[in-house]
């Protein structure tokens, strides 16, 4: 599903952050990308989702065999790439429900499905809200406005559940969550695991991986993937730290 080949990227007009990332993620798999601060984790998430502010200087990213990097951010999303933000953005004045419906209909249109009517939409929303224990009143507010840190993260997973992407990239989704929220978020992610979907979790800590057990764990350090292994690698990192894999530079 996702093939990253020798990816080099820098912050626009800045220093190179990714220095030759190689990664293959197949449908049905859950991968964890771990690494110390500054190793390039968020840059990788940004480049894959089409966030402005990065220049790809070399390499290739294929999504279902198509060149992902030439697609605009909204096009990637409609093709089935979803980024759960490390810092979800507050957008006052844009109602959550309105936003979600616009997003869902854009994605459905791409999939050749018709717009959901208000009734169907509300039904789908309620089912997913329950899964993540989000109050319906939060959806009447502006996007992420007045949400606690945990509510924002849950809202990301809620959006993911609604949009049903093929590839979900979760950027530090576990950061800032208390144990209850972590469990809710994990439940939401696990509910989305399936043979047609790939999930890439980017995280500094191992704790999310106790709840969402990955098929593969990779260590990103100094802008490259320096080690890949099964789920036990996360436990090893928890005990030994990232010291063995060099610092961020």
């Amino acid at each position: 599903m996702l093939e990253i080949k020798n990816l080099h990227a820098r912050i626009s007009e800045g220093r190179e952050i990714l220095k030759g990332v190689d990664l293959v993620v197949k449908a049905g798999e859950v991968h964890a990308i771990m690494g110390p601060n500054g190793s390039g984790k968020s840059t990788l998430a940004g480049v894959l989702s089409g966030k402005p502010g990065y220049d790809v200087t070399d390499g290739q990213v294929l999504f279902h065999g198509r060149d992902l990097l030439t697609m605009a951010a909204d096009e990637r999303a409609r093709e089935g790439v979803f980024l759960a933000f490390q810092y979800p953005v507050e957008i006052p004045g844009v109602n959550n429900m309105y936003f979600l419906r616009a997003a869902l209909n854009a994605v459905r249109k791409q999939r050749g499905e018709s717009d959901m009517d208000a009734g169907q939409f509300l039904k789908a929303v309620r089912a997913k809200l329950k899964l993540l224990e989000i109050g319906e009143d939060l959806l009447q507010r502006g996007v992420n406005v007045g949400f606690s840190g945990g509510e924002k993260k849950r809202n990301e997973i809620f959006q993911m559940a609604m949009l049903e992407p093929k590839l979900a990239i979760l950027d530090e989704t576990d950061s800032g969550l208390d144990i209850d929220a972590l469990q809710m978020v994990s439940r939401g992610i696990n509910a989305l695991r399936g043979p047609e979907r790939a999930i890439v979790m980017i995280t500094h800590y191992q704790r999310l991986l106790e709840h969402v057990v990955p098929d593969r764990v990779h260590v990103l350090s100094g802008g490259r993937i320096v080690k890949s292994d099964g789920k036990e690698l996360a436990l090893e990192l928890e005990q030994t730290g990232y010291g063995a894999y060099g610092d961020a530079a």
């Binding site: 402005p52 951010a73 909204d74 999303a77 979800p88 616009a102 854009a106």
Partner: protein, 435 residues
């Protein structure tokens, strides 16, 4: 055109238009004449005058706009897009003249006068003294002078004390006569303790010029909510003045949604004449193409313990130019004044421009006054967030601009229907795209 050449057609139009004036009382004829003289002295404002420094009046000065004569044919369908569903009474004026067939004045409570300006002149000339009151303390006002000389019609809404009208009065000004001008003189007079909502809509098509003056008095303890939807035709010119006097404990709220016209300017000039009164001045201006839009407010705190809340937003796309001028003056004895003013602006194109000039002139020492102004772009992180969920960039931009405007519409309290009405017009405007 030279200054004299610009004025001459209006002077001649005045001389050639005795038919509207012959039936009028002597005092009014005199008023008109001195007003015409005043306009001839002043001429059109120039950019050398501070209040007009940023407003490009070229479209108005290139050719004269003689007064509209006769009536353009207008059907009910022509006003349908602007009708306010919750209005209880409606007055329609086309090219500055009252059209009874399209108007619908329902049963009015005792103590309410609602009629065209011409009918008011006939039946209640006493009101017209107020409508033409000389309040030129705020400086030279050529457009008001020209309006006083040439006005043909308008509307008058007058309340006796303690009359409350729960549902809105709607006034639709429709412009149709290309190359012509319509001078509207309107009056809203609220007696002590009375309460009303007035929705004024300006719309039309063609290259006409509307010059409207609203004279407003809100007496002690009375409250007026006054909404202006400026949605003139794309080639039209709109000049509007709201001159407001507030007595003791009066409340006045003014909301301007400005969407249309190639050149549009509204001046809000408000004076606190009694203690403990309050005003809320709000609005949103959306500009695209080569539109030129100005909101200019002057609030005169001439009495103690009055409150001003001012909040205006503007959006300029393409090569449009927006201007906000806001002056709040506090006179020496106007202690305990509480005033704040905020101007927030959004630039959507490298060639769009916005000038914003807040000004406080405080001569009292025990006051609470503040002002602020911002000019910015759309929030890139918010745009990316929307796009990252599959929403195309144009739609994402539209959503953010809509949210920007909605935030000030939210300031209208306790009237969901009115907020929704204005929101619909913003949505309709935005359907034209914001590049």
């Amino acid at each position: 055109m030279s200054a004299i050449a610009e004025i001459q057609p209006y002077v001649e139009a005045f001389k050639a238009q005795p038919h509207t004036h012959t039936a009028e009382p002597g005092w009014l004829k005199q008023r008109r004449e001195s007003a015409m003289q005043r306009f001839a002295e002043l001429g059109f404002p120039t950019r050398k005058q501070e209040a007009w420094r940023f407003t490009d009046l070229q479209p108005l000065q290139r050719a004269p706009f003689p007064p509209a004569v006769g009536k353009s044919k207008v059907a009910a369908a022509d006003i349908a897009p602007w009708l306010y569903p919750n209005a209880a009474h409606r007055i329609v004026l086309v090219d500055g003249a009252f059209v009874p067939e399209l108007s619908a004045i329902g049963k009015l409570p005792e103590g309410v006068w609602l009629a065209s300006t011409t009918q008011t002149l006939r039946d209640r000339p006493d009101f017209m003294n107020t409508a033409l009151r000389e309040t030129d303390a705020l400086g030279a006002q050529p457009f008001i002078a020209l309006n006083a000389a040439l006005f043909a019609d308008g509307f008058v809404l007058a309340f006796e004390p303690n009359v409350v009208l729960d549902r809105a009065v709607e006034v639709i000004h429709l412009g149709r006569a290309a190359g012509r001008s319509a001078q509207l003189r309107n009056l809203i007079l609220l007696g002590a303790g009375s309460r009303a909502t007035v929705i004024e809509t300006f719309a039309g098509e063609g290259g006409y010029w509307i010059n409207a003056v609203d004279v407003i008095t809100v007496s002690a303890g009375a409250a007026l909510r006054h909404v202006k939807l400026q949605d003139e035709g794309a080639a039209a010119i709109h000049i509007g003045h709201n001159r407001i006097e507030l007595d003791r404990d009066a409340r006045y709220e003014n909301f301007i949604l400005s969407l249309g016209g190639k050149l549009a300017r509204t001046d809000v000039q408000l004076k606190f004449d009694g203690e403990g009164a309050a005003c809320g001045l709000f609005g949103a201006t959306l500009l695209r193409g080569e539109q030129e839009g100005t909101i200019a407010t002057v609030v005169d705190h001439a009495a103690p313990r009055c409150i001003t809340r001012e909040y205006y937003k503007s959006v300029a796309a393409d090569r449009a130019h927006g201007v906000f001028l806001g002056t709040i003056g506090v006179r020496p004895h106007a202690q305990k004044t509480d005033a704040n003013q905020l101007s927030k602006n959004l630039l959507l194109g490298a060639r769009a421009a916005i000038d914003t000039k807040p000004e406080l002139e405080i001569l009292a020492d025990d006051v609470k006054c503040s002002h602020g102004a911002t000019v910015g772009d759309l929030d890139e992180t918010a745009l990316f967030y929307l796009e990252s969920r599959g929403i195309p960039p144009a739609e994402a931009r539209r959503m953010l601009v809509e949210a920007f405007a909605a935030e000030v519409i939210e300031r209208i309290e306790d009237d969901t229907a009115l907020r929704a009405h204005l929101g619909r017009h913003v949505t309709r405007w935005l359907a034209g795209g914001v590049a």
